[in-house]
């Protein structure tokens, strides 16, 4: 595999991982907020 293709695959996978990490933090905040209210 050439360097450009490697970078493009890393970019795509990185984008998907970053998206799910952000989503995880969103739900963590929601859960914390819920606990604080209780």
């Amino acid at each position: 595999m050439d360097v450009i293709s490697f970078i493009l695959i890393i970019d795509s996978v990185g984008l998907i991982i970053a998206t799910f990490v952000l989503t995880y933090f969103f739900f963590r905040d929601i859960l914390r907020e819920g606990k604080e209210k209780k």
């Binding site: 050439d2 450009i4 493009l8 970019d11 970053a18 952000l22 989503t23």
Partner: protein
């Protein structure tokens, strides 16, 4: 293009998911600030998700432009915007949040007077009209399901008005999170599958013109500068302001915009290379793309290419990604337009004593008006839509000087400097634009001296703004003497 039943089902379930999210978001609304700004409680992750998805709307145009100019797309539609967003984060974001206001016209009244607010509201309303994005969705529905464009637009309208009206800004931001996930995952899928099917850099370099692999994409320098200037849009983007006002504290906007830039970089690399792969695949005879009279490929280019590399189910996810990119911008713009009508015009111009309940009712009417106005333009005046980007730049040249002047010019500013600089910017850029559209060359407007309307518009606004400030300063000094 024919899509499989399973992909059609995936698209249908996406719309059902939007309705479910909006249903739960509705429960969080207890007052007007909740309806307008989610109670100013946006945390960092949701700030990033809603900003990333809202700011990115012209996905079909990006597909066309990356096909047309290769890496030049990344420079003109990406890099310039990252720089502007970074400047916004560093110098503006915390000031906006600390002001504790609701809209850009609020800001204009704070800096100048009520007339500036009123005039600013009108240009703001034009700037956030969702017409081009509604039209894009109509085109997508027509392409995917073979239904007439108006049916696609009516479907979009019903869904959009339904959940935006029902759940306000809470609905917008929570559905944005869902749209953000689909948008990122859907678009990220295409490039790895394209590499697997057609090959890596060798395939691209064998089938792309040399200019597509240069960062300028063979675009003339003057045109690159124009795109760079258009990116100033960011400084008066109502979506940016709304999210900054809604943040939980004044640190979140700065951090959030910086993280968003990271997402845009990764996302733009995917979209740009998808467009380049589409060009190469078309040249190699794997797919067939029509070229329009203005030299750009057909708007459906992304979908045609993705269909050639993605298996069913993943194609469905990709299509949702494209639809989500548009929907997230349409819902935000519709709410922003409605806030212009209810908050800026109804309450602060005509009925200052209006209660929160009355303002919320007018906002709901405003959502219907903004959505119908956008849909009418998209259905009956699609020719105007191509002008809309230029109309947007006219609004920018009208708003940018008084808004940035208000934040950064510390000298005392006479109230009339706001309204008169807006009038000057609007008149000059509108005349310039109309002249350009009077002299079309292969559907492209030809402007005086080949200069885009935004430049003379901003220049006129600047001259008038500083002339009024200067004259008032001289008068003050004479009075003191």
């Amino acid at each position: 293009m024919e899509i499989s039943m399973i992909d059609a089902g995936i698209i249908g379930s996406y719309f059902i998911m939007l309705a479910i999210v909006a249903f739960f978001a509705r429960k969080k609304i207890h007052g007007l600030t909740d309806y307008f700004l989610a109670g100013r409680r946006l945390t960092l992750p949701i700030f990033v998700a809603t900003l990333v998805s809202t700011w990115y709307g012209g996905i079909l145009g990006v597909g066309q432009y990356s096909y047309f100019s290769g890496l030049g797309n990344w420079l003109t539609q990406g890099i310039f915007y990252y720089i502007m967003a970074l400047l916004f984060a560093l110098f503006l974001a915390h000031k906006i949040r600390k002001s504790n206001l609701f809209t850009i016209p609020d800001q204009l009244e704070k800096f100048y007077d009520k007339k500036s607010r009123f005039l600013g509201s009108i240009f703001n309303f034009i700037l956030v009209t969702p017409a081009p994005y509604i039209l894009s969705l109509g085109v997508i529905f027509m392409f995917l399901f073979g239904v007439p464009k108006w049916i696609g637009i009516v479907i979009v309208l019903v869904i959009l008005i339904g959940y935006t009206l029902y759940s306000g800004f809470y609905g917008v931001i929570y559905t944005d999170l869902l749209q953000f996930i689909f948008m990122m995952v859907g678009v990220a899928l295409v490039v790895p599958f394209a590499i697997a099917k057609y090959g890596g850099f060798e395939f691209l370099s064998a089938n792309l013109p040399e200019t597509h692999l240069q960062i300028t994409g063979g675009i003339p320098t003057q045109m690159i500068l124009v795109w760079g200037f258009i990116a100033f849009w960011t400084f008066v983007d109502p979506g940016f302001y709304q999210r900054c006002y809604a943040a939980k504290d004044s640190k979140i906007p700065k951090k959030g915009i910086m993280i968003s830039i990271g997402f845009w970089i990764l996302f733009d690399i995917c979209t740009t290379f998808t467009g380049m792969y589409a060009f190469a695949a078309n040249k190699a005879g794997h797919i067939s793309i029509k070229i329009l009279e203005n030299g750009l490929p057909q708007p459906e280019t992304y979908m045609i290419f993705a269909n050639s590399v993605l298996p069913p189910v993943l194609m469905g996810v990709f299509l949702i990604g494209i639809i989500a990119t548009l929907m997230s911008t349409i819902d935000s713009f519709t709410l922003l337009g409605a806030m212009n009508i209810s908050h800026d015009i109804y309450k602060h111009t005509f009925k200052p004593k209006a209660t929160d309940k009355q303002v919320m009712f007018v906002t709901k009417i405003g959502i219907v008006i903004t959505a119908l106005f956008g849909a009418t333009l998209a259905l009956f005046f699609s020719g105007i839509i191509s002008m809309w980007y230029t109309i947007g730049t006219v609004c920018i040249s009208t708003l940018i000087v008084p808004v940035l002047g208000g934040f950064f010019i510390k000298t005392k500013k006479p109230p009339i400097s706001g309204v008169f600089s807006m009038i000057a910017g609007a008149i000059v850029s509108t005349i310039w634009m109309l002249n350009g559209y009077n002299n079309l060359y292969y559907e492209w407007p030809v402007y005086w001296f080949d200069i885009e309307p935004m430049y003379p518009g901003i220049l006129a606004a600047l001259v008038v703004y500083f002339a009024i400030i200067g004259i008032s300063k001289i008068k003050r000094n004479q009075e003191l003497a």
